[in-house]
């Protein structure tokens, strides 16, 4: 038995490596590492503020160690120590590492559990299916409707030949970057079914009952997703697709808001290292009011080269967002209502492991 790859998503198409549970049933120790860095240059139109930017999209470092059925893992992601409109940070507004995953867990006969900073099953699965989270996280995470991880514990069961995956999470509800602010705890559940026992088709359902902040603002979610990845040829070409919808009750500390959103995407490697990706998101504060809707379209093309232990990729494309008058920053004004970003995004995601006797 080899050391199980701790970050199984590092592949030609999946440029979004994630920490996965480790376990060793042969008494050996497995040490696994992850490095995932991406940068980008972009031009934002119209030129309302800063139009030309060079930035770090992602800098993640992860480490996992498994010993027998038990394992620990820690991942840090770079974050600015001060927001764009703040000067009170670390050494100016320096990049600093923030822990976004840190858990101890164990796996036993299809069951696994972990406690610490644990992943939100909806966000992580969505990013894995979309596969380009360093370029743009799924719409729910990107709009801050969902944190990617939170303090809490999770229990998972995977069975029926990997056809069914069930996850339950108990968490603080504040997200990994905020301390607990109330006595209420979020209870989340996710069910994924792969009817054919392959990644070609996965149907997922998600629900969360939660609260956020000092004011116990409700923070409930219900979502559904259909995604899959199918090989096109024996040479490794493939097609990934997906569509999801999410209903929220309570958002951004506002309990009255109940927006609805959805996203659909396709990512294809038609020949050689060529990668094409497209995504469309839409969300609205009021289904009966077209002025309350927003949509986003993203298209990218580039190459993804397999290198030992990972993927080197470069993508160029455009990302456009339009917001209706009721949901733009300044109602009735074009400022901030629409923006197009033309970008060049370059990244390298590596994952490796070391098996100890």
């Amino acid at each position: 038995m080899s050391c199980v790859a701790p970050f199984p998503d590092v592949a030609v198409h999946a440029l979004d490596p994630a920490l996965a549970p480790l376990s060793r049933e042969d008494g050996r120790v497995c040490v696994a590492g992850l490095v995932d860095v991406a940068g980008r240059g972009a031009v934002v139109l119209p030129d309302e503020a800063l139009s030309q930017t060079l930035d770090l999209s992602r800098a993640r470092v992860g480490l996992g160690v498994a010993s027998g059925p038990a394992w620990v893992r820690v991942r840090t992601s770079a974050t600015r120590s001060a927001d764009d409109d703040s000067y009170i940070g670390v050494a100016g507004e320096a990049w600093v590492p923030a822990i976004d995953a840190a858990a101890v867990g164990a796996t036993f006969r299809g069951f696994s559990g972990e406690v610490g900073i644990v992943a939100d099953p909806w966000v992580v699965a969505g990013n894995r299916a979309w596969g380009l989270s360093a370029l743009a996280p799924t719409f729910a995470e990107g709009l801050a409707w969902m944190p990617a991880s939170d303090a809490g514990l999770s229990l998972r069961w995977t069975g029926l030949g990997d056809r069914v995956d069930v996850v339950g999470v108990l968490s603080s509800g504040e997200g990994a970057n905020r301390r607990e602010r109330n006595e209420g705890k979020d209870i989340s559940g996710a069910l994924s079914v792969a009817p054919f026992g392959t990644p070609a088709l996965v149907v997922s359902l998600y629900g969360r009952n939660g609260s956020r902040g000092l004011g116990y603002v409700r923070s409930h979610r219900v979502g559904a997703r259909l995604d899959g990845e199918v090989p096109l040829t024996a040479e490794g070409t493939s097609l990934a697709y997906g569509a999801e919808g999410l209903l929220a009750w309570g958002i951004a500390d506002q309990g009255e808001r109940a927006p609805v959103g959805g996203s659909a995407w396709v990512r294809v490697q038609p020949v050689g290292p060529l990668v094409l990706a497209a995504r469309a998101d839409t969300w609205t504060e009021d289904l009966s009011d077209t002025d309350a809707a927003a949509w986003r379209g993203l298209g990218a093309a580039g190459v993804a080269l397999q290198v030992p232990a990972g993927t080197l990729y470069a993508l160029a494309g455009a990302d456009h967002t339009t917001r209706g008058p009721a949901v733009s920053p300044f109602p009735g004004a074009p400022a901030g209502a629409a923006a197009t970003t033309v970008f060049l995004h370059v990244g390298l995601a590596l994952s490796a492991h070391l098996e100890l006797p």
């Binding site: 764009d84 006595e183 500390d253 309990g255 009255e256 002025d291 949901v327």
Partner: protein, 482 residues
Amino acid sequence: MWFLALASCAAPGPLAARAAWIQEQLTADNAYWLTRSHARVEDKYATMAADPYDWMRGSNALFLADQVQPDPERPATRFLTVPDAASVLTIGDPHLENLGTSLPGEEPDPNDATAVAATAPMPLEWVDLDAAAFGPWTFDTRRAALALALVADGAEGCPECVESVASALAYGYADEIEARAAGEAGWPADGEDIGEGALVASLRATAREDGLVSAELDSFTVVEPDANGVGRRRLALDAEVDDQGDGVLALTSGDAARLERVLAAWTEGRPDGFRVLDAARQYGKGVASLPATRFVVLWDRGGADLDDDRLLNIREVADAPSVDGVYPGLGAVYDDNADRIAAVTEAFRTRPDADVRAGAVRDGAAAFKTTSLSGWFTTFDHGDIARAVILKLATPDDLAALGESVGRALAGAHARGTTLDGAPSLGVIADDLAAGGGPDAFADERVRDATTDLATLRADLSLFQTLLDRSGPLLGAEILAP
């Protein structure tokens, strides 16, 4: 407590949802101060709860966040259609207490003060620029209109004063922008035009009077004989802060070390021969910045007598309110808050010597600003204005004249600023004003928003007071204790 999670399933009522929103916005806005001193934040909240105007002063972040939240019910604006109109340099919090007189140049020797008082120009300046940032020019006008409307709302027997003062501000602002864009000199901030009304005239008169008799110096200090029987001035200290959290206290060792660092780094505005005679920490001053570290320094130039004794105010400056979507790209323009304050002070003041003690100093990650502390530098006081109206010392026309003066002062400041891209703001605002329908449309919008903002403000204050009763003096943020 698990029932709380289940209880949160239900849709909240509008008041409960609004209360939670207020609670979160204020806690986030005060997060920096909460890491420092819970007592000072409690004092700030108590001050805000006691007076509608102080509630307005302490809730600017909430005001700004409300403007940009997705809400199908928000009325649309006719402005911000011209590129860069949403990213001009703004005052950030242009309420009445942030506008006051200044005395250009050095303060006169007390023996010369009478002559100076009779002739010195005393321009109106925006004196607190802590919230200055790049954003929509309309936000400043809306904020200023709300401040004026709140004062006017207390004018007994003048139900139309809210509308008239907001309208006067808008027309004053628009006229000033149009005049300056046409190449005219614009409203002289030190003009002392009789048309500015009794309230503005009274402010200038008060400043002259207080400056003449060194009222501020006398209020902060006492004169005692030294060992040789020579009178020496020192700061009058309180033993502790009073029930309202106010007081001037002796420096702790930590305060003294910090002040020493700040003074050592202070260059812009530092006079020749500067000598510290005494220093203390002031508590309870201001509203939004009440928790900030504030020093009062008694200084002179080394003279043997008391005539060159002066006061210096040194106050910590934090970030401008952080609201997504309002102030894009601020961090790309200035190095830090000290750089920001120095730059915006230079940009907004009507003349370079408006306050010769104005400066900015960095102390590690913190920033401090220096200003003169003197009767010559007197800001409007909403309480004084309200009393003047109630006592019939000022008429509704005086209120409207005040509104016009505030509008012109705001327009003048905007006209001297730039956009985020470095272009002059004046042309951008003038074009945007015209594109949106001109002065009449602008006045209509200001009156409309002032009326609704005033109602929202009063309702929010009531919710805030209830929150304090229900959640405690920190709105429940005690659990975030570092």
